[in-house]
Symmetry: none
Subunit: 216 residues, 4 copies
Amino acid sequence: MGAVKTKRMPRAVREQQMMDAAVATFGRRGYMAASMDEIAELAGVSKPLVYLYLNSKEDLFTACIRREALALTEAVRSGVRTDQPADRQLWDGLLAFFTHTAQNPDGWSVLHLQARTHGEPFAAEVAAMREEIVAFVTQLIVVAAREAHRDPDLPEREVAGLAEALVGAAESLAAWANVTPGVTAKQAAATLMNFSWAGLGNLMEGRPWVLQDVSG
Amino acid sequence: MGAVKTKRMPRAVREQQMMDAAVATFGRRGYMAASMDEIAELAGVSKPLVYLYLNSKEDLFTACIRREALALTEAVRSGVRTDQPADRQLWDGLLAFFTHTAQNPDGWSVLHLQARTHGEPFAAEVAAMREEIVAFVTQLIVVAAREAHRDPDLPEREVAGLAEALVGAAESLAAWANVTPGVTAKQAAATLMNFSWAGLGNLMEGRPWVLQDVSG
Amino acid sequence: MGAVKTKRMPRAVREQQMMDAAVATFGRRGYMAASMDEIAELAGVSKPLVYLYLNSKEDLFTACIRREALALTEAVRSGVRTDQPADRQLWDGLLAFFTHTAQNPDGWSVLHLQARTHGEPFAAEVAAMREEIVAFVTQLIVVAAREAHRDPDLPEREVAGLAEALVGAAESLAAWANVTPGVTAKQAAATLMNFSWAGLGNLMEGRPWVLQDVSG
Amino acid sequence: MGAVKTKRMPRAVREQQMMDAAVATFGRRGYMAASMDEIAELAGVSKPLVYLYLNSKEDLFTACIRREALALTEAVRSGVRTDQPADRQLWDGLLAFFTHTAQNPDGWSVLHLQARTHGEPFAAEVAAMREEIVAFVTQLIVVAAREAHRDPDLPEREVAGLAEALVGAAESLAAWANVTPGVTAKQAAATLMNFSWAGLGNLMEGRPWVLQDVSG
DNA sequence: CATGAATGAGTTTTCATTCAT
DNA sequence: CATGAATGAAAACTCATTCAT
């Protein structure tokens, strides 16, 4: 449990260890219930060192949020190729998203649950990331409409709501998949892809969404 | 701000006042940051009385979660008529849901944000309520499949995922609507109904979901 | 050592006990070296009670300064009769001053040493009291000049310097008397009276100072 | 602000830089509030080096007190010529004193305020210096009495008190002059000279004090 | 000689919780 | 019933001080 207690590491390394411990602790306990004592012990260092490097509990939490948000958006971004059709882009993005959240459950808890439960400094940090993702999805919807030879007469507010719903569904599914044994990232992505792209009505009629495989 | 300080109220009434104060405080501050002092003051009673009636902070929080969960499920249940077609039932349920969450933002915050960010005792309480709703939605989907003269060859896990996605989208939209000025419960319900029932694909093709108006 | 541990005292009494302990501790150790733990123990109460009543270390220190400053000025004020000649007023004031500081060495230490060593919040508190005393002395000098049938052609800045010197001498003598065994308040007052009055008198007239005994 | 970071200075020089930084920091912040970190940074060296050279915070503070005390007494001593009459010696001494304290406000703060507010190790250090000055003044008074053809029938305790009062007045005036814009060392010295010497002179003879200008 | 890395011990402060009245 | 008085336990944060390199 906790990093092996190795002495005299360079600062950059120690900082990452501390943030690993902090993400795990914040993710499981929540911001307020997590104590700096616990984080320091899990990181295998003394509390003063945590303060020396990360300044304060607030700063540490903010640093965690930023690191995890960056990692997540980076994972999604690098999973999507923008030269693909919209549905394929969405599929790739969802797959990357569910894969990443499954591999970083504590980080996802920090972003999805903990950061939003506390005042402006933190919520804003996550909101920024979320807006980026919502914007990406919004634009996908617009592109999809165009691809369907259809003028985007969907009002802007409506599109925003749809994107919000899609992202919200993804977030919930990520938490659900993390907690339900046997649900893989691929299955979660497939479920949501069907749900959002085909819609329940289509599914009922027997018209699910199907992945048009391309090269890779 | 707090309840008017009237002496000698029956216990049941006092308890409700305390829980009103507690829901408001927990909803805004979060479980840990909420202090029993603040709750007692907002309720207009002395702290020992809170302990006499509600036992402990944990018990108080649990009681709040139960009360709010009950109120929410009750609101949804009483908004739905089971003799209607599945899509109508979903529509009614969503409308009731968004209406209730809009009218009880603190209670919704307790259920959606605060209760889930803290350990088992509380998360389980919400999970129970959530499962009830997910079960309702699951069954709606099954019924809808049957109504479409289609054997529910959708595997159970798949249906569970769809229900989960739908509920997750609803939860996110509720929070979004509470925070985005000018979004009414009806609009939120319509957006989600379109999204889930028709699906993005159908929307692109120009086949949105349409409310088949019945009696009222 | 410390107040006898009696339970359940009314708030006003406990507050005074706490401030007694605080003055003793601040006076001996200094503001920063005094710990709230020590103060609470000396007062015979738990730390949280100190915070409940006095809010913070800063507030407690400020309260101590104010109480001691008030007690000192009150002692001096009530020792002086303004219908007496200036020299008699000064004598009475000095006597009251040295008597009070001798009886409250810790309080005097708080005012003279500790409060001035720390930033604005505290120093200002003492400065206010000091200015009151300096103003009193300044006015005595002016009155004395008038009594000596002498136009106060002493420039204002000069008078201010003289008052400052007199008060400074008194402050130092008080500390000295508190530390030198066998020096009574009366002796300290007599020494300073001779030192200052004969000097000032000489500036205006040219006679050594002699106590003109009146009634009491 | 801090000393320029030059490598490889002889130990004696480095030590002086550290003590400069320490005096500035102790003088402004006080003993306890001054941190070794701040001192080291202001001195432009690493903390371990401070410990290597000065051992501990206590030792460093003691060293500062000693250095400043020595500098002050040296300044006063070298300003006085013992072949002069007593009043002239006092005048010269006061002038040197006020000049030095005005030029070294931090050092004066260390001696006058900070060192005295902390326990025995430090207060004793200052007391020694102070006694030296008080002794010098005491002897001046005795000499003056003799010069006035007057047997020193002033009892020893009385003379001690007078010296104490004079030194105390000087100390207060120094602090006052450091804080009151436009008050020069010369003015402070003149004020105190009038205040004290005319008074003392009156005790023995009866004349205001006038500077008998000699060579310089 | 010089320093980046590291910590034990202590500080102020807060909070859920309980009696005695 | 109701409350003013009181506290044990823990949290965030700081600092003088020391090694290993």
